[in-house]
């Protein structure tokens, strides 16, 4: 008998999948569900190559896979967080060709040849990105769950090259929710990093 070494991630994923299946089976179906299109096709697996944090990565994808799930479940880059999974919280923010986007709203199979940068690719080796250093210095987080998305969104904002004061930082960071309410410190961290960038 082979004993397989599970990672914590695989264990959580596999047990969550089992629990999820039971929950769906128990829900009894939805009364006004949209009828499924007749004869749904078996989705083709799409082969795409993306440039991820400077390295070419080949992926084989069901077309339903979001960029967020591809990053977390296939590439094991779990720095990008899943919050709402509907584009409302910003926890999954990554840079796509240098521009910030919600990874949960992007179908990964559409990204052949595109460039993706995640929180794992932001630092220069052991040298933190100025935004990462500023978030530590200004205590720009409590629980930390929204932090990778906040930092990637701020990185996108700095790329946009806008003049930034406190009010405009709040407006331009409105796509990132922090339920701990660390906003004042997030704003000061971004102000500091924008001076350096």
């Amino acid at each position: 008998m082979t004993i397989r070494n599970f990672t914590r991630r695989e264990f959580l994923r596999d047990t969550a999948a089992t629990g999820g299946a039971a929950a769906i089976a128990g829900s009894g179906g939805k009364a006004w569900a949209v009828p499924a299109a007749a004869d749904p096709p078996v989705p083709t697996q799409h082969r795409v190559t993306i440039r991820l944090n400077g390295t070419e990565r080949a992926l084989q994808l069901d077309p339903r896979t979001s960029l967020l799930d591809a990053l977390r479940e296939q590439l094991y880059l779990t720095g990008t967080k899943k919050g709402c999974d509907m584009g409302a919280c910003g926890a999954c923010t990554v840079l796509l060709d240098g521009k910030r986007v919600n990874a949960c709203l992007v179908l990964a199979a559409r990204l052949d040849g595109r460039e993706v940068k995640t929180i794992e690719g932001l630092a220069d080796g052991d040298q933190l990105h100025p935004l990462q250093a500023a978030f530590i210095e200004h205590d720009g987080f409590q629980c930390g769950y929204c932090t990778p998305g906040q930092i990637m969104s701020a990185a996108g904002l700095l790329n946009e090259g806008r003049p930034l004061d406190e009010h405009s930082i709040r407006e331009w960071m409105s796509g990132n929710i922090c339920r701990c309410g660390a906003y004042p410190n997030i704003v000061s961290a971004i102000r500091q990093a924008s001076g350096r960038a």
């Binding site: 939805k30 009364a31 006004w32 569900a33 949209v34 009828p35 499924a36 299109a37 007749a38 004869d39 749904p40 096709p41 078996v42 989705p43 083709t44 799409h46 069901d62 077309p63 339903r64 979001s66 999974d85 509907m86 584009g87 910003g90 923010t93 796509l96 521009k99 910030r100 986007v101 919600n102 949960c104 709203l105 992007v106 179908l107 199979a109 559409r110 969104s153 996108g156 904002l157 946009e160 709040r170 407006e171 331009w172 409105s174 796509g175 990132n176």
Partner: protein
Amino acid sequence: MQPFALEQGRDIADTIRRGRMPGTDYIAGGTDLVQLLKDDVRRPRRLVDLEGLDLDQITVTPQGLRLGAMTRMSEVADHPAVIRDYPVISQALLASAAPQIRNLGTIGGNLLQRTRCTYFRDTASPCNKRSPGTGCAAIEGVHRTHAIFGGSRQCIATHASDLAVALVALDAVVHLSGPNGARDVRLTELHLMPNDHPDIETVLHPGELILAVSVPAGAWTRRSSYLKVRDRASFEFALTSAAVALDIQDGKIRAARVAAGGVGTKPWRLPAVEQALVGAPATTATWQRGGRLATAGAMPLRDNRFKVRLLRATVTRALEQVGGEA
């Protein structure tokens, strides 16, 4: 999410050939469609990708502005000529969603986004727009954010786009291509009132595709603005909004373009307000009269009665901001 095939056409003609097949949806920026797929509100068997069709140009000429359907919201909002000559368009886009979504969302997709009515997006609720004939949960339910113009006994969902309100005010034209060839449709006529078929939202034929949107130049476009009122300061849909463009010469209004958002089952032009403004002096009294006329014919329900006063104030203030007290 139901399984689907993801395809890409070689060119526009090939894209339309694929797009006209039953059970097919086009995907542009995907910011709305991916939500609808996740919620099982859309269950297509095939998606046809509109990326790579070269539909992402912004063209400014003396005749007007032309926005390719696949132009990203953020690109249009930041375009210097749009900011200078059509500020209402830039402002409406910057008031929409959040920066991440504006980097994905497209001009064509924004016009065709589905309503934010929570019953429409919840497959456990009846909804005539999503599942025809099941009823409307909003009319007797929670409808604080719903329409005060254009509702029917079948549906009172608002059209959610800010951009469409600005474009409707500026007489925009939508350039279409479909299985039966190309045609132009005025944006005021693209969206349909719900009436007895709230599931049919536009005049688009199966497979028909928006290629671009044009805005004719006019003396009023430079003096224009978008004012949006919402439950929080940013990243929220409108309770009420107003797009205003005015041509004022020697203290007198020569031309006026006014439309409202957050209140209609489609982007809502306000011709009665425009008619009252033309020829009037650019004074506070005129702006207040315009605001009062904005709600003529409104049909509020139990929870959205506040939108009547709010819209009057929104239109008055937008007119004042654009027109000043010259």
